[in-house]
């Protein structure tokens, strides 16, 4: 497999950035990592994961859909869509890489969302295998192998080297552009390291988590569970879980009058908010209990019912870290499973 010494990784990143716009996880001043556009001197973060997921690249928090010009009673719709440039997302973890496939099941099914597809078509996803999973990780529950994260190119760190393997044509083209920096290397040690990572993972608290009791056929069993009341009682409805979740994909559409034209935007929204379903005629989910239940039922039951058993969660663990009341999908699953 091709490889480069880890102390030359900056050269590799610079070479990629010369060919295409490059995004990579970097450490912020507060020590947390986030994806940023590569600039001279950017250092790849060693953090296990970014605060916000990588969904932002394909489903940004806010995006302009179109503009309108109005004059008297006349309206003109201005299609402002443009082909985006090719770009590379470097260092995507296995969980986030899987989340793209889940978002695809929403945005690339008929009718295809052209805003999403445009960015998806122009992106090359370079993943980074995990070598030290955290206590909040549970990707295996969804059949994800953290040591084989997939994407267009997979990178593995081992023994002072970064190993690089192209998985797709797009990935091969990217690797070719930096081929002069890469050398052939033996992968025997890499295979050993992957096995060690899995051993570490097996010792972690969520390693035994199973999805066997969840899926598309569990609606009647869980929707009326008395557990929702207790689980949702402390929920603040802040929506943090939704925003950091790599698979949450609900949105709002709002118009903004700039004073010299109207712009229509799509923005992230959350089923945890009361406004989400409120209509002039009433509110089908009047309390936080119903909203909270919707979010988890959608991930654990409704989404798999429509997508051949695939869950709307990838086990990245962000919600376990970030929820201000320490509620999360794992606690919900465990509570629902208690008979």
């Amino acid at each position: 497999m091709l490889r480069i010494k880890l102390d030359r990784i900056d050269e590799l990143l610079a070479a990629i950035a010369k060919a295409q716009t490059l995004y990579l996880p970097v450490d912020r001043s507060d020590g947390q990592a986030e994806f940023r556009k590569w600039t001279e001197g950017a250092r790849l973060s060693n953090a296990l994961n970014t605060v916000r997921s990588a969904k932002d690249f394909f489903f940004p928090q806010t995006e302009k859909l179109m503009e309108f010009k109005t004059e008297g009673k006349k309206i003109e719709v201005v299609d402002t869509r443009e082909d985006c440039e090719d770009f590379v997302i470097f260092g995507v973890r296995a969980c986030d890489a899987r989340s793209f496939e889940i978002l695809d099941k929403v945005y690339l099914v008929d009718p295809v969302d052209t805003f999403y597809k445009n960015r998806r078509d122009h992106a090359t996803v370079v993943t980074m295998a995990c070598d030290r999973p955290a206590e909040t990780c549970f990707c295996h529950a969804y059949g994800i192998d953290m040591t084989e994260p997939g994407g267009d190119v997979t990178c593995y760190k081992q023994g002072g080297y970064l190993y690089v393997n192209a998985n797709t044509d797009k990935g091969t083209r990217l690797v070719e552009t930096v081929a002069s920096l890469l050398e052939d290397g033996d992968t025997a040690e890499l295979e050993k390291a992957k096995a060690q990572t899995k051993e570490i993972y097996a010792q972690l608290p969520l390693a035994k988590l199973s999805m066997d009791n969840f899926g598309g056929d569990k609606m009647d069993e869980y929707f009326n569970s008395p557990k929702w009341k207790e689980l949702s009682e402390a929920c603040l409805g802040c929506g943090t879980c939704t925003f950091i979740c790599p698979t949450c994909q609900c949105f709002d559409i709002q118009d903004f009058n700039t004073g010299h034209g109207i712009k229509r935007y799509r923005c992230w929204d959350s089923c945890m908010y009361s406004e989400f379903t409120k209509t002039a005629g009433g509110q089908p989910r009047p309390s936080q209990l119903e909203r909270f239940r919707q979010r988890f039922m959608h991930k654990l039951v409704y989404f798999p019912a429509n997508n051949e058993g695939e869950f709307g969660c990838v086990g990245c663990g962000r919600c376990l870290v970030k929820c201000p009341i320490s509620m999360n999908i794992v606690k919900v699953m465990k509570a629902l499973e208690e008979k």
């Binding site: 719709v77 969302d113 052209t114 445009n118 109207i262 929204d269 379903t277 005629g281």
Partner: protein
């Protein structure tokens, strides 16, 4: 600029006629700027109408697909978008996209059937499309009966069309009711669900019902007392929507999206969904 079209990007529609139906319902006639129908639809389908800068909302298409000249929307004033629509003048342009959703199965399950339409208030809007479709393709259906009620005589939508066309049509039965006694009204007085029970329609009919949730609930209960099964009764639902194509997540109930899997449902299909509508 991209070559492909996107379902979120609307067309322009021109409002060519505004009819005042009730104190809070107006019916808007819409065509494209070159005078054509914006798109073809099937009875029960919906369209997204918007006024840039104000907002976009989903409305049922009130006119029948057999109308080849224009589309009509009967809209009740109840929020930001609808208030703006009500303040419009003829000639105003709006945006329109669609059609969205699963229609009433007029060419399959409903074909050849005796049909009973039950509507309350603005609930007539989506049913009017089906009623007029069936009247235009009269030979394809058995008996047609409409039971329609509203708060008062003045709140009956499309009343003029009911008087001029439906009541004069000897190939259909129309039974009207209003909630309370009113001067100048010598017809039936009482709530729709009770009137249905009084009229006691025979169970050889397939029923299409639309109205306020409470009216639908009691009407369904009454129909069951009369011997109707849930497989014989269809309704059309209304939930908040943004995209209309099953992506924005708002109208998700259980594993269904009302915008694309509905808005038309048969009651036995609703049984398997959580009670969140």
């Amino acid at each position: 600029m991209m070559n492909s079209c996107d379902s979120l990007i609307p067309k322009i529609g021109v409002v060519t006629d505004i009819r005042i139906d009730t104190p809070d319902v107006k019916t808007f006639r819409v065509v494209t700027p070159d005078g054509k129908k914006a798109f073809e639809h099937e009875p029960g389908q919906c369209a997204m109408l918007s006024i840039p800068g104000v907002g976009e909302a989903m409305f049922s298409i009130t006119s029948s697909p057999t109308n080849t000249e224009y589309m009509e929307f009967s809209i009740k004033k109840c929020g930001c978008v609808t208030e703006w629509l009500h303040s419009m003048e003829v000639g105003q342009q709006i945006t329109i996209r669609g059609p969205y959703g699963r229609p009433f199965p007029v060419e399959t399950e409903l074909k050849g059937k005796n049909l009973l339409f039950i509507a309350g208030g603005i609930g007539l809007a989506p049913l009017r499309s089906v009623i007029n479709y069936c009247r235009d393709k009269r030979e394809n259906y058995g008996s047609l009966q409409v039971i329609y009620g509203s708060r008062s005589k003045d709140d009956l939508c499309d009343y003029q069309e009911i008087l001029d066309d439906w009541l004069k049509d000897d190939k259909m039965e129309v039974d009207l009711t209003i909630d309370r006694e009113q001067e100048g009204w010598d017809g039936h007085v009482g709530f729709v669900p009770n009137y249905v029970k009084e009229l006691a329609p025979t169970t050889d009919k397939t029923v299409l019902v639309c109205g306020p949730p409470i009216m639908i609930k009691f009407t369904l209960a009454g129909l069951k007392e009369l011997g109707f099964t849930e497989q014989q009764v269809y309704t059309t639902m209304e939930l908040r929507m943004k995209c209309g194509v099953g992506k924005c997540g708002r109208c998700n109930i259980g594993n269904k999206y009302v915008c694309k899997d509905g808005p038309v449902f048969r009651f036995d299909e609703l049984d398997s969904l959580p009670d969140e509508y």
